[in-house]
């Protein structure tokens, strides 16, 4: 049999047609596309003229002033303002809404029904007390029969860093997110820092003296250090775990009223204080007494260990948590309702631990929250049929009515006495990131004996921004405000 040119052509055509039914040509297309890749780029939806907005960071109670660069109503970078820098966590705050573990849906209707079914045994656990939302919880719990308002009680609520000459820290990240960065850094030149902890932290690396300690030996070490310090109220003992035996050294050395001071509360409308439920520590609540527990953990500063909470719940108790991810109490809750996160939230920030005067500042949204998020305060208020839509404005009006203090505007860096500011201007300025500070008053000693009971708090589980990758962790940078 002889092959003709026709046969050769037919075979070639057959091979070409047959090859189309194999993966080879299709893979070749992909591979050649990769090899000759002309970068398609990333889709930018944020082209436009950049604008500047001012707000306050709500990631911790330091509440640093923030200057946001926005394009198309979206922040593209955050920065501190003059003399008020922000931490690494704050700089990456604009990425918080895009956390891969963020939850998008929650069954708010059934959650509300479950709470109504537990009428008479409802409690709210507020992990960032002192906000306007906290007052909403207290008012709602007062309105609901048997409602209980729970908040973690901390031994130290306010310190006066300016008066500190020796700071003894038992594991507190003093230089790494403990207080307001600008205040801590300004005060650092005036105090010597002794850091006591098991493993050397960033603060330990930069401390004047670092003392390693075995866990459990802290009270002995604290006494030893206190022996060498003058009892003139110039020292300050801090503890990350709020160890009463360590913090009691502040009493021994006469620090109360000097470096450890009573917290000055931001004013609230008189009607609110009259209608508010009392603040309870969860360890003081009777066992098996809570039928429905609502936990506001989206903005948690500290948390309460689940071991402390569990005995307080009835066997059929329902737990509802307002969170952005399921990493915290979501593991124990029947309902996890998605909450807005910074910089989507509208909230006020309680006075920082290192502020000697009461303050009031707002975190206003830099971008819209996705649909489906539930406002914890509105949810709780609706259970008690309270109208709290304008609660922040009401509180601002009550602060303005006191006529005390001054208003610092970050856009022009000017501070004005509140007497010179009209009520509507005050509200507008607050929404533009301004900060109200109360007038200075004589420092008072805190009611120490009332709070010295062993606190039940632990570190809150908080999602890190997506930028905090393994690389950053390997660099040894903590970067997370505590």
């Amino acid at each position: 049999m002889s092959s003709t040119r026709r046969d050769l052509l037919k075979m070639t055509a057959g091979v070409a047609a047959g090859t189309l039914f194999t993966p080879a040509p299709w893979r070749l297309i992909t591979d050649s596309a990769i090899l000759s890749e002309n970068w398609p780029g990333i889709f930018f939806s944020s082209h436009g003229a950049p604008t500047e907005k001012f707000t306050n960071c709500a990631l911790c109670t330091a509440g640093c002033a923030v200057k946001a660069r926005c394009v198309n109503d979206r922040p593209i970078s955050l920065a501190g303002v003059v003399k008020s820098p922000i931490c690494a966590l704050g700089l990456a705050g604009l990425h918080m809404p895009f956390h891969t573990a963020r939850i998008a849906h929650g069954d708010a209707e059934n959650a509300a029904a479950a709470v109504r079914a537990a009428q008479g045994k409802v409690a709210v656990l507020d992990l960032r007390p002192g906000r306007t939302a906290s007052w909403t919880y207290r008012r709602a719990m007062a309105a609901l029969p048997g409602g209980i308002y729970l908040a973690p009680q901390r031994i130290l609520n306010a310190v006066n860093l300016a008066a500190v000459k020796t700071l003894v820290s038992f594991g507190a990240p003093v230089l790494d997110g403990w207080g307001t960065p600008s205040k801590v850094l300004a005060a650092r030149e005036h105090f010597s820092l002794i850091q006591v902890e098991k493993d050397q932290s960033h603060t330990g690396l930069l401390a004047d003296r670092w003392i390693p300690v075995q866990p459990g030996n802290e009270p002995v070490v604290a006494q030893q250090i206190a022996r060498d310090l003058p009892a003139d109220g110039s020292s300050l003992f801090l503890s990350s775990a709020e160890l009463p035996s360590v913090l009691k050294m502040n009493v021994t050395l006469g620090n109360l009223g000097h470096t450890v001071i009573a917290r000055n509360e931001t004013p609230v409308p008189a009607a609110w204080s009259k209608q508010a439920a009392a603040v309870h520590a969860i360890q003081n609540v009777a066992d098996r007494s809570i039928g429905a527990l609502l936990i506001d953990e989206a903005s948690a500063d500290v948390a309460v260990p689940w071991d402390v909470i569990a005995p307080k719940l009835t066997n059929s108790a329902v737990v509802i948590t307002f969170a952005s991810t399921q990493a915290g109490y979501g593991r124990y809750a029947q309902f996890v309702l998605p909450a807005a996160v910074y910089p989507e939230v509208t909230t006020d920030i309680p006075t920082a631990i290192d502020s000697v005067v009461a303050t009031f500042r707002l975190a206003t949204p830099l971008m819209a929250a996705p649909s489906g998020v539930v406002d914890a305060a509105e949810f709780v208020a609706s259970l008690a049929k309270l109208d709290t839509k304008d609660a922040l404005q009401e509180r601002a009006a009550s602060i303005h009515a006191t006529g005390r203090g001054s208003l610092l505007s970050y856009s022009d860096q000017k501070s004005r006495p509140i007497k010179d500011v009209k009520a509507d201007q005050f509200w507008t300025a607050l929404n533009a990131g301004a900060c109200w500070s109360d007038s200075e008053s004589p420092l008072k000693a805190p009611r120490w004996e009332a709070t010295i009971a062993t606190p039940a708090i632990c570190e809150a589980v908080r999602p890190k921004p997506p930028l905090f990758t393994k690389l950053y962790e390997e660099s040894g940078l903590k970067g997370i405000a505590s």
């Binding site: 890749e37 970068w39 780029g41 990333i42 889709f43 930018f44 939806s45 944020s46 082209h47 436009g48 394009v71 198309n72 979206r74 922040p75 593209i76 970078s77 955050l78 920065a79 501190g80 820098p85 922000i86 931490c87 690494a88 700089l91 990456a92 604009l94 990425h95 809404p97 895009f98 956390h99 891969t100 230089l175 790494d176 960065p181 600008s182 850094l185 960033h202 690396l205 930069l206 921004p465 997506p466 930028l467 905090f468 990758t469 393994k470 690389l471 950053y472 390997e474 660099s475 040894g476 940078l477 903590k478 970067g479």
Partner: protein, 236 residues
């Protein structure tokens, strides 16, 4: 004409990492979860260092490290693509990813290990692309990148200056210097100012004529600049 430079006070650096984060946000460095110490990208990295002692004599510091913006550039001289160029008008060593073929000669030549290779295409969690800085193009897989003193900001500052009828870029500060909470990083023009007295540069003996000046009152920190010197300094 400018010669931009940086002065870093190591004694002031608290290692908070604000500069690293601000840089990543400004320059659209992707948060690749698979990136690690060897394969990750960060244009500026803060290294914890110590004097090698133990106990009470142990001292630690933090050393922010980025492209040292050499005047005598070892990276540019080995690049077969002319993807690295020293801009004589600003003194900034630029990297052009469009020209880069990914040979990584420059990474080998850089004595400061300040260059990073894109092992993966950049990726952001869904929706996060909208927060990217529109002034800076993300880099593709297979190219090298490094600090360029926030060149996007320089362009923006130039544009703003031009709109005001000026020639020189005013109010130009890279993100790391702007974000440093302690003011440890200072950005300046060598033609208008000088580094502080006692400043030193890393590996000065190589003659790379860098424009990043460091300073510290501690002798062992200065010793790090000339490492390795036989002593046991620890660069974590």
């Amino acid at each position: 004409m400018n010669r931009y430079a940086m002065s870093i006070d190591i004694d002031k650096c608290t290692g908070c990492g604000a500069c690293m984060i601000a840089c990543a946000v400004e320059n659209n460095v992707p948060p690749l979860p698979q990136s690690n110490d060897r394969k990750g990208i960060t244009w500026i990295r803060v290294f914890p260092v110590d004097n090698g002692e133990q106990g009470d004599t142990r001292q630690s510091a933090f050393l922010p490290m980025m492209c040292q913006q050499c005047d005598s550039t070892p990276c540019a001289s080995v690049c077969p693509q002319q993807a690295v160029q020293l801009d004589v008008k600003t003194g900034i060593v630029g990297q052009m990813p469009e020209r880069c073929l990914g040979c990584r000669y420059c990474m080998t030549a850089c004595p400061y290990h300040a260059r990073y290779f894109n092992w993966w295409d950049p990726k952001w969690p869904a929706g996060m692309e909208a927060t990217l800085n529109p002034d800076v193009a993300p880099r593709m897989r297979g190219v090298v990148e490094k600090c360029n003193f926030c060149h996007g900001r320089w362009h923006a500052a130039k544009e703003q200056a031009a709109s005001q009828g000026k020639r020189e870029a005013a109010d130009y500060t890279p993100a790391c210097a702007e974000s440093c909470p302690t003011g440890a990083i200072r950005f300046f023009d060598l033609l208008a100012g000088t580094p502080e007295a006692g400043s030193f540069r890393l590996l000065e003996k190589l003659g790379t004529e860098t424009k990043i000046y460091y300073r510290s009152k501690r002798a062992w920190v200065k010793g790090l600049a000339e490492a390795p010197d036989g002593k046991e300094h620890h660069l974590a």
